[in-house]
């Protein structure tokens, strides 16, 4: 190899030392910074032994919090999925004025702190809120009760499915649906047999992320929950209560370990979908 060729080749790759330093730094960073917290959750959860772990999970307040978390997700995720599909359909398959404004507005909840997300519903439905008097007169409790928790969760998980589907459906265009129509399919048939199979992996991906956030939401729910044990605590709130309680430290981590498992499963499924069906997911990731 001539000197010039060697110099050119060296200009295309970093020196080996730099390479190994970067790889080492990345391994260290990910291992220490990201992996250790996960490990800590499980080691602390098992500090009281398996018996203690199961007892913590079997506690009635904890079970109630698990039920409430599942209920909240069961309401919030389908509703936001329905919205996501509808919005993506309107935005991706049609042209209209204000389309990019709509897309920007859909992303709004991402820029809003979860505590502010909770606050806005207090301003609407709280005792001194706009609808406060009307609600008291009809004896309907929204804030500091389950409906408030559901509303807060709906707000913070609002964009997930839409964000996933909009670029995907835009990239897929309208040719297949139009072909189905010319072949005589009705609107619904076209949707179920042409559109849905095309978007199913992106849809699943969006639902997965939406669900993870719905079950894990803390700040917004904290504002709107009454923090009443056994009634209006979701799992993340239960974790906080147990953590702040001196004798319940490992119980807090026990509940946290369930949430960590949820995060872990979400992560695994997310990566699996990206790996197997990456080309059928949104065209532009992370934007």
């Amino acid at each position: 190899m001539t000197t010039a060729m060697r110099r050119q080749r060296n200009a295309l790759v970093e020196p080996a030392l730099v390479r190994w330093l970067l790889i080492g730094a990345t391994l260290l960073l990910l291992g220490v910074f990201l992996l250790l917290p996960l490990i800590v959750v499980f080691t602390q959860a098992l500090k009281a032994g398996i018996g203690g772990y199961l007892a913590a999970l079997g506690d009635s307040d904890t079970l109630a919090s698990i039920r409430l978390t599942l209920l909240t997700a069961a309401i919030a995720v389908p509703l936001n999925t329905l919205f996501g599909v509808a919005a993506a359909w309107a935005i991706a398959k049609f042209e209209f004025r204000g389309k990019s404004l709509l897309t920007t507005l859909i992303d709004l909840p991402f820029s809003v702190s979860p505590v502010i997300a909770g606050l806005v519903f207090v301003l609407l439905f709280g005792q001194r809120g706009w609808f406060g008097d009307w609600l008291s007169a009809h004896d309907i409790r929204i804030i500091f009760a389950v409906p408030g928790i559901v509303l807060a969760t709906l707000f913070v998980t609002f964009p997930f499915v839409a964000r996933e589907l909009i670029p995907l459906m835009q990239a897929q265009g309208t040719e297949e649906e139009q072909a189905a129509l010319t072949l005589g399919a009705s609107g619904w048939r076209m949707f179920w047999h042409v559109t849905v199979p095309n978007i199913r992996w992106g849809l699943l991906y969006g639902v997965l992320l939406c669900n993870a956030r719905a079950m894990g939401e803390f700040g917004a729910v904290s504002v709107l929950s009454g923090h009443i044990r056994g009634l209006t605590n979701t799992m993340p709130l239960q974790v906080e209560i147990l953590y702040n309680d001196p004798g319940q430290y490992s119980a807090a981590f026990a509940v946290a370990s369930l949430l960590a498992l949820l995060g872990f499963v979400t992560l695994a499924l997310k990566n699996f979908l990206e790996w197997r069906h990456g080309d059928e997911l949104a065209a532009v990731r992370g934007s």
Binding site: L34, L36, L38, F83, A90, L124, F191, A256, A260
Partner: protein, 296 residues
């Protein structure tokens, strides 16, 4: 049937599209059905769930009047909390920009054992519920923790200090930078680098002058996302922060405290201030991005 497959922007020709029973041609922007239904539902849902509540916040804030807002915001505790949240988020975003770039580069350009598994790990802060991250980080970096103990030996206190706050913000912001940068790095044309090499550029010059400008817009998007998340973050930060007034109290916590005191005015003013400042910073980043795209 004389139907034509039309490109996306279709103009309706009543000869090719069936008429409604009342004789008017069906109005649509393309040949596909469902526009009215989906757009109507989307706008209604968006308004009820997002726009009206946010409007309520700003109307409430406006109702305080300029004097009222200034009175609520011009308190040492409030100003400190805002400074801590925004300053911490800026510091964390800067750190994440550097760390995220290095991590993204390593994963895109190099091969090493366990790469697939470790790559999956990057999204952990994104998938992990914030309260879990919060207590895990606190336990880890407390003076009795696995990492906190050696750091304490070096005289560095992390938990219950502003350093802990920035650390938690770095934790949750990292995936945003890495994930936004990776696709762009993957697509970056090696040809440009080869051209630079044949022209005699060193590796460092190539990286700085060819690769960096190409990925700069994506880097800024990732930074913007990480910043927006860090500023408003509650669950991950609240446990590791000391939550002492004027020392380690973040703005979202102060909003909570104001709500607990039934001081709706204070909470509203602070929330509105946070939103306005966040939107302003995001707008600046967007403008910088547009500028860098044009001149990149």
């Amino acid at each position: 049937m004389n139907t034509v497959i039309l490109p996306r922007q279709a103009t309706v020709d009543s000869a090719t599209h069936p008429q409604r029973p009342d004789g008017r041609a069906r109005r649509s922007r393309s040949a596909l059905p469902g526009f009215g239904l989906t757009l109507g539902f989307s706008l209604t849902y968006l308004s009820l769930l997002v726009l009206i509540p946010l409007a309520a916040l700003f109307l409430h804030a406006a109702g305080l009047g300029a004097a009222g807002i200034v009175r609520e915001l011009n308190q040492a505790r409030v100003l400190h909390a805002l400074g801590l949240s925004f300053g911490g988020a800026l510091a964390a975003t800067a750190i994440n920009t550097v760390l995220g770039s290095l991590v993204a580069w390593t994963f895109v350009r190099y091969d090493f054992a366990g790469k697939r598994l470790l790559h999956a790990l990057i999204d952990l802060p994104f998938a992990l519920p914030t309260a879990v991250a919060g207590i895990a980080l606190t336990t880890l970096y407390a003076e009795t923790g696995w990492l906190g103990a050696p750091l304490a030996q070096l005289g560095i206190k992390v938990a219950y200090t502003p350093i802990g706050i920035v650390l938690a913000m770095v934790f949750i912001g990292l995936p945003f930078v890495v994930r936004t940068l990776e696709p762009v790095l993957e697509d970056a044309e090696k040809q440009l680098e080869e051209v630079a090499a044949t022209l005699g550029a060193s590796r460092l010059q190539t990286v700085a002058h060819i690769i960096l400008p190409t990925v700069l817009p994506a880097l800024m998007t990732g930074a913007a996302l990480a910043f927006a998340r860090a500023v408003g973050e509650y669950g991950s930060v609240i446990f590791i922060a000391g939550n002492l007034q004027n020392v380690s109290e973040i703005a979202p916590l102060l909003i909570m405290i104001r709500l607990d005191e039934f001081n709706y005015a204070g909470a509203t003013a602070l929330a509105a201030a946070m939103l306005v400042m966040s939107f302003a910073i995001l707008l600046v980043i967007n403008l910088l991005q547009a500028w860098s795209r044009r001149h990149g």
